[in-house]
Point group: C2
């Protein structure tokens, strides 16, 4: 029997949320071998990491690397600094304009840098990140201009780059609404019951319930509602 | 008495080695307020961190932030993977051509990303890194093209960037020989006895001695020799 050519690696940033789970499922559907990268950065919502493990397993990721980087030492965000409050709103209110306090300074630059490091180690040319510039929180590092600048950087930052191999940063969700993301994921067989999106979950016994009121919960609920689907996770 | 205007912040990547200590002294001499950032990334030469603390203190850094990010989980480098050997050569031999195994994939991308995060939190517009593209180990992320690409990225990656504030990435050593770096540092009052450069130091009692044979030691010794100075640190 001829030796099968291994599928090419792709490094996918996997937070365990709705978007990254969908991006990972997309990458798998493209025929890549998944290397999921999850980053503990001192976020309040550490329930994410358990979700990331469940999602990586359910998608058959060939590697799942977890890295800790203590962005809480830097501060500047309500996601990592427990003295700051995560902004909340009542259902129906629109998300506040401007960049909210949940913005973590340069977070996606740090995350893509780590993904690039893993890609270079594995010999991967492809990276994927579930950023979304439509139904999003207004973070600067979710926009196409940021992704383009990072692609250019990757080409000169690495050994692979100077040897003439370029990197592709895939952003399959960047132009989709949340409803379109939900529909895409369901079509690809994502089990959204395994995912976790809430910025500020509430513990009830052994379960973590989504608050339903932070930006992330509200965008997620809006996505399911507009897709005509029921969100399978538990809310407060 | 009128309130004094605070000096502007600069975030300086401070490994505790010869180059970063000189870059930090340069930044101080420019009139900046120093925020030193040291990163424990799973390197063999953890003696660096003690050196970084000594250097930060001696330069009067207003902040010294230490962040851990476990690049050893990613691997791919003899600096973080203890199963690989740090390349050594006898004194007088030239450093091997090509990129050596001590290259840590995408390390400076990760480091500058973290520096950018700290800069954004402090409201700093200035970053400094002691990269050097002349007497160096051939790492791709020490070259001017890398720094230019990172500067462009910083402008779009951040809240500050989209508000119209740009970032300057200072590389005061990039065009200097090691001998010129040593001379610059001595002129600026750097105490090189506090620094540590060796990739693979040897413990002797309570002291860590530099091996004298890795690329980093040899470049350092060459710099002192060509500057007509004696390196104050202890070698095996």
């Amino acid at each position: 029997m001829p030796r099968q050519t291994a599928k090419p690696w792709i490094v996918v940033l996997l937070s365990g949320g709705l978007d990254s789970a969908t991006a990972a499922a997309w990458a798998r559907a493209q025929g890549f071998r998944l290397a999921a990268l999850s980053i503990r950065y001192g976020q309040r919502h550490a329930a994410e990491m358990q979700a990331a493990r469940r999602v990586a397993r359910s998608l058959g990721a060939a590697r799942h690397v977890e890295i800790a980087v203590d962005l809480a030492r830097i501060g500047g965000s309500s996601l990592t600094d427990r003295r700051l409050r995560v902004p909340k709103a009542r259902a129906g209110f629109r998300i506040a304009p401007g960049i909210p306090s949940t913005y973590v300074p340069a977070r996606n630059t740090v995350f893509l840098a780590l993904a690039l490091s893993l890609a270079e180690t594995l010999g991967a040319r492809d990276l994927a990140i579930g950023v979304n510039a439509l139904d999003y929180s207004g973070y600067p590092d979710c926009r196409p201009a940021f992704i383009r600048a990072f692609s250019r950087l990757a080409g000169v930052a690495t050994k692979a780059g100077i040897e003439g191999r370029s990197f592709r940063i895939h952003t399959p969700l960047i132009g989709l609404t949340k409803a379109q993301i939900v529909r895409l994921g369901l079509r690809l067989g994502v089990d959204y019951g395994l995912t976790h999106s809430c910025y500020d979950p509430v513990r009830r016994g052994r379960r973590m319930l989504a608050c339903g009121r932070c930006d992330s919960c509200r965008l997620r609920l809006k996505g399911f509602a507009e897709a005509g689907q029921k969100d399978p996770i538990a809310y407060v």
